[in-house]
Amino acid sequence: MTVIPDTPPAAEPAAGPAAGPGGERGTGRTVARYALAKIGGAALSIGMVVVATFFLFRLIPGDPAIAYTRDVPLSPEQLDLLRRQMGLDKPLLQQFLDFVWRTLRLDLGTSYEYKRPVTELIAERTGPTLVLVGTGLVIAVSLGLWQGTRAAWRHGSRFDRFSTGLSLVLWSVPTFWLGLLLLMVFAAGVGPIPGIFPTRGMEDIDAPGGPMYLLHVAHHLVLPCLTLVAVVYAQYLLVMRSSLLDEIGQDYVTTARAKGLRDDQVRRRHAVPNALLPTVTLVFIHIGFVVGGAVSVETVYSWPGLGLLFYEAIQGPDFAVMQGTFMVVCTAVIVMNTLADVAYHVLDPRVRSA
């Protein structure tokens, strides 16, 4: 499997003409112009996300008022009242304009189910998600980069075959299944293996305060985080491995070796920094997805994050919450992509000069 990162095209219309070949003097201005163009593009994308969000979620069949009150007997009058409260009685265009105007004021509406502002719900859930996915991502990136580097440097070795094979197997495993399996074994306990980790959530009732609280959460974090890392680290490993393999064949590596540098130094000072570039993009893109949480993992472990919020909203369906989380996630991805583009531009002179 190959994961091809979304590298920015070599020639950027905004940067090309002004900079010209070897345009060293104009670099600062070019970067600024480049960044501005990128930010403009990102703003446009976010605007389109807002529009798409509204209509996308209206395509979901069913009457939200009915769907929401499934299994609850309601009189027709009460249903009408509910529709009025949801704003569903207005014409679609009116609903759309209201939606855009509210979104512009950063008001993502009120959840039908929780009867609370969506922004508040999202803010509440962001903490747990950052803890889980943030930790998971950092571990996955470190592990992936380290293993990828080793695997490429000694490609064909047993270590290479083993780590590539293992990561691919884990990558192919359904997250939900792996999570449940780990939960059954290490949280519930099977046979002689005692269940040493909790079966649910981020914290228990009567969680300790102060520094012990960190340990308490860390204890709850182990299994969800392990699941997340197992499933995602393969992509960092493979991208790192393949881009380092490309670099190993380059003349400058041979030159560095010829200078008599130690193997370790050749790798660390020369090959790896160049091989890291595609990975940077990948990492940035994934930081964007961090915000969306890991829906499967959060569902299995009842982790009270954004992924769980989204999952529950779909079951509602709680339009406002779905729209809100969807927009927040999209925006995060767009922003991070833009940052990746700009960072790439700064990091790699080849992008500027081409």
Binding site: G127, I196, Y301
Partner: protein, 611 residues
């Protein structure tokens, strides 16, 4: 590790250190004091629930888990009796009705709120009037006050409710009485989360902490008028994943779990510490037949098969179904075949049982006979056609996607229907589309359906009224069958105002008989209520009804009020997780150490090889 790796690790640590206190701050804002209390010797029972609390505000909450918790914390006018399920005194000590049956006078009990203030009739007046006058407060229980003309309190112990029409279901009023002195100053009721802990209430338990999508912590109410519960704390823990909840029960993270499906229930077998609690259920599963769906202004909607308009065809279908086989094969024997209609036999008083000529049993020959006599001739392919010869009896069976039970059901039905010359094809729909097609657009022939019934079946009976059909503009009105039958309507109106309980029970049974014989819906089976609890933690619990009833999902507070816990060994929940914490930490440290060692070794060996 490479320098980049080291930097990433540092970044990770920073992120963790920044994010954790933020998460803790959120926890902290809801939990001011809870953590410092001593834990030793407390009697705690922990319930696992697989539904998240939607709101702790009783005016807004509609989910079962929320209304259950409200049942445990608030007082009501009446509560279902633990043996008969008939209304019995709760905050209302006694009551009487006027001769015209329009005025109810309740005597309010001398009870106290958990903050020490007395419960008065003024509290009830405020509660009912708020729902009657404030739109935002109607969400949970609006229909319950629709027929109220006025609610007043001549004195602190007397509550007078005047109704527009006689209301037989008055004593099943589902509205918790709220403390006026607390709620008066709330402001916008639609935006209040009822999160001033401890929440002032008058029932057996008081909510002291609630963390959304995580847990609710309740404490025994020492001022409760029946006497404080025998346990100190009741914890309600939320699991998004039912399998994880099951694992939690086996491990001992929770002590009781309700609403299990058959496979989850069977997974609990063989554990010496777990009691599998299998009792008659509140639910009936039935088929909905599109017998000519219409909107409320009698305009046809949808595309139901015309043959289903014929009661004879519906009856033949009823004869074709082997309910006993469905119970055994589809429900693993954990259900009761339906010899009745939409009210399950758990409600002995209201349950109507088909007998004599009414009773429909599995009889394919009889079904074929009925269809032959009615002129539906079998073609060469074994499929019947309409008497006018125009259309074959090819029908769709709508079920939900991702529900293995319904898939299995569809297979059995398809076989039986083939025996009587009806070709059945399965149509799978996601739940929203399903609700739309079977609830208001009428784009179905036969669909699976089901409903949970309350101690008073009025609500479920109302889902088959003419007025519940979709509006003229095509919006759903809450019908479960598109049924509109003059006889059924008449019986419904009569039972509404029949205050003589025996007579009303009879009317309600007649309605079920009408549904059974006319067959707009065909009840298949009544799934059992499946629960499990740890007997090493729960010393005693009284189900509702008392002999063989429900533990978690039942009506009223009897099961949780009667809970008795085995006292935990010193340092409960915490002790267990503390040990786990240490073991977990050791595991992590060992893993990291081993990783580091391997890493160092590998680096050296790689360097050795190359240089």
């Amino acid at each position: 590790m490479t320098r980049v790796g080291a930097r990433l690790a540092a970044l990770g640590l920073t992120l963790l250190l920044v994010a954790l206190p933020a998460a803790q701050a959120q926890a902290g804002q809801q939990v001011p004091q809870a953590v410092q209390e001593p834990q030793q010797g407390k009697k705690i029972v922990r319930l696992g629930v697989t539904q998240a609390v939607d709101s702790m505000n009783p005016f807004l909450a509609v989910r079962l888990v929320s209304s259950s918790i409200h049942r445990w914390m608030y007082g009501y006018l009446t509560v279902p009796d633990s043996k008969t399920l008939q209304p019995s005194p709760d905050l209302a000590e006694s009551w009487e009705t006027s001769d015209d049956n329009l005025t109810w006078t309740f005597k309010i009990r001398d009870a106290k709120w958990s903050d020490g203030k007395p419960v008065t009739a003024q509290d009830a007046v405020w509660t009912f009037n708020t729902i009657m006058t404030v739109d935002a407060a109607k969400q949970a229980n609006g229909p319950a006050v629709e027929n109220f003309e006025s609610v007043t309190a001549p004195d602190d112990r007397t509550l007078v409710i005047k109704t527009k029409k006689p209301q037989a279901s008055m004593l099943e009023n589902p509205i918790p009485i709220m403390p006026k002195h607390v709620w008066e100053g709330v402001g916008d009721i639609g935006a209040f989360e009822n999160d001033r802990y401890p929440v002032v209430s008058s029932g057996p338990y008081v909510v002291v902490e609630h963390k959304k999508d995580a847990y609710v912590k309740l404490k025994a109410n020492p001022t409760y008028w029946r006497g404080a519960p025998k346990i100190d704390e009741l914890h309600v823990l939320f699991y998004q994943n039912p399998e994880a909840a099951n694992a939690g029960l086996k491990k001992g993270d929770i002590d009781l779990i309700g609403r299990l499906n058959a496979p989850q229930f069977e997974a609990l077998a063989g554990d010496p510490n777990i009691v599998q609690w299998n009792t008659p259920g509140r639910r009936s599963a039935y088929l909905q037949l599109n017998h000519g769906a219409q909107t409320i202004d009698n305009k046809p909607v949808g595309d139901g098969h015309p043959a289903l308009k014929d009661p004879k065809v519906r009856q033949a279908i009823h004869y074709a179904i082997d309910k006993q086989a469905l119970v055994e094969q589809v429900q693993n024997g954990l259900a009761v075949p339906a010899d009745g209609s939409i009210v399950p036999p758990m409600y002995q008083e209201f349950f109507w049982k088909a007998e004599g000529d009414d009773l429909v049993t599995h009889d394919a020959a009889k079904a074929n006979q009925i269809l032959d006599d009615a002129g539906y001739k079998k073609g060469a392919d074994g499929i019947r056609t309409m008497p006018d010869g125009e259309r074959k009896l090819e029908m769709r069976f709508s079920i939900h996607t991702d529900t293995p039970v319904e898939d299995k059901l569809a297979q059995f039905l398809t076989g039986w229907f083939k025996d009587i010359g009806i070709a059945l094809s399965t149509k799978k729909l996601d739940s929203n589309k399903f609700t739309e097609e079977t609830g208001f657009t009428g784009l179905f022939d036969i669909a699976i359906s089901g409903w949970s019934v309350n101690p008073d079946p009025e609500e479920v009976l109302a889902t088959h009224l003419c007025s519940r059909r979709p509006t003229a503009s095509g919006e759903g009105g809450g019908t479960e069958s598109f049924y509109c039958d003059p006889e059924y309507e008449k019986l419904y109106q009569q039972q509404l105002s029949e205050l003589d309980r025996a007579k009303r029970v009879d009317l309600i049974k007649q309605m079920q008989r009408r549904l059974y014989t006319d067959a707009p819906v065909i009840a298949l089976y009544y799934p059992n209520n499946l629960e499990g609890y740890r007997k090493d933690r729960i010393a005693a619990i009284t189900p509702i009804p008392e002999d063989k009833g429900i533990l978690y999902g039942g009506s009223g507070y009897w099961p949780v009020y009667s809970l008795q816990a085995a006292a935990l060994p010193a340092g409960p929940a915490d002790g267990g997780s503390g040990t786990g914490l240490i073991v977990g930490a050791v595991v992590i440290v060992v893993a990291l150490g081993a990783g580091g060692f391997l890493l160092a070794r590998r680096r050296r060996s790689v360097a050795d090889e190359r240089e």
